[in-house]
């Protein structure tokens, strides 16, 4: 998995690409979130547009990130989740936890 980071209106946008499946990916994602929190940026949008698939350990990365940001007073929201990945969120009931948007402007404005 690759993670490209940018910021917009005080919100960090993490563009993930490839496969989200735990292991070293979890450490890299956790490290980025810790740095963002240290810098005072606690609101994060994770763009899933270029993620081909997610497995259950990959879901764990997002859950861990969500919890970390929540504890620091921030939020993690999802952007451009594919139908394939959305189905996984539905069967695991995680759609009730993660806010998800198809439009980046809407995702950014949701933090206002």
């Amino acid at each position: 998995m690759k993670i490209k980071e940018r910021k917009r209106d005080g919100v960090a946008i993490l563009e993930m690409s490839g496969r989200l499946m735990g292991g070293p990916d979890a450490e890299a994602f956790d490290e980025i979130l810790k740095t963002l929190i240290h810098e005072g940026c606690r609101n994060v949008v994770v763009s899933m547009e270029k993620v081909r698939w997610v497995n259950s350990t990959g879901l764990g990365i997002l859950i861990s990130g969500y919890t970390t940001l929540k504890k620091s007073g921030g939020e993690l929201k999802l952007l451009k989740v594919s139908d394939r990945i959305e189905n996984i969120f539905i069967v695991s009931k995680l759609y009730t936890v993660f806010e998800s948007y198809q439009d980046e402007d809407e995702a950014i404005q949701s933090f206002a």
């Binding site: 496969r19 499946m21 081909r52 497995n55 259950s56 764990g60 189905n87 009730t96």
Partner: protein, 141 residues
């Protein structure tokens, strides 16, 4: 006609996507919605994750084996590892929504039409996933 495809992979997580690619390629040969293929692909990835991680303890020298059997109405995928396996009959879904792990079996169960855990004739632990090709409807044209 022989519709049996067998692949073997070292227990390295970076190879988890290979069976999914194989399935998508197989899928071009039969009439099946993309949702049906994606659900089966996601289930295979979960089965292979468990086989590599819990079964073969991520020992790169130990392979997992994936067998695709394509029928007229269904696809059967068997994933084999060398681990001790577990007792599916005692499995229950967890109510803890934010648990970091432990959704693999739930995903496999929801996305397949038949799910079986057991012991192969040669002693390896086996997960068998069956997906009916017409179970997810047709793609919108």
């Amino acid at each position: 006609m022989n519709n049996r495809i067998v692949i073997k992979l070292p227990s390295r997580m970076e190879f988890l996507g290979i069976p999914d690619v194989v399935l998508m390629e197989i899928g071009t040969e039969f009439s099946c919605s993309s949702r049906c293929l994606e659900e089966l692909g996601t289930s295979i990835i979960e089965a292979c994750t468990n086989a590599m991680e819990h079964g073969n303890k991520l020992d790169e020298e130990v392979e997992i084996e994936i067998i695709f059997e394509v029928g007229e109405e269904s696809v059967t995928v068997t994933v084999l590892d060398t681990g001790p396996g577990f007792d599916f009959s005692s499995w229950e879904p967890s109510d803890e929504l934010m648990r970091p792990r432990g959704r693999g079996i739930l995903i496999m169960r929801e996305f397949t039409d038949e799910l079986e855990f057991g012991r192969h004739d040669d002693g390896r632990f086996m997960v068998r996933l069956v997906k009916q090709l017409g179970s997810c409807g047709e793609d919108e044209s």
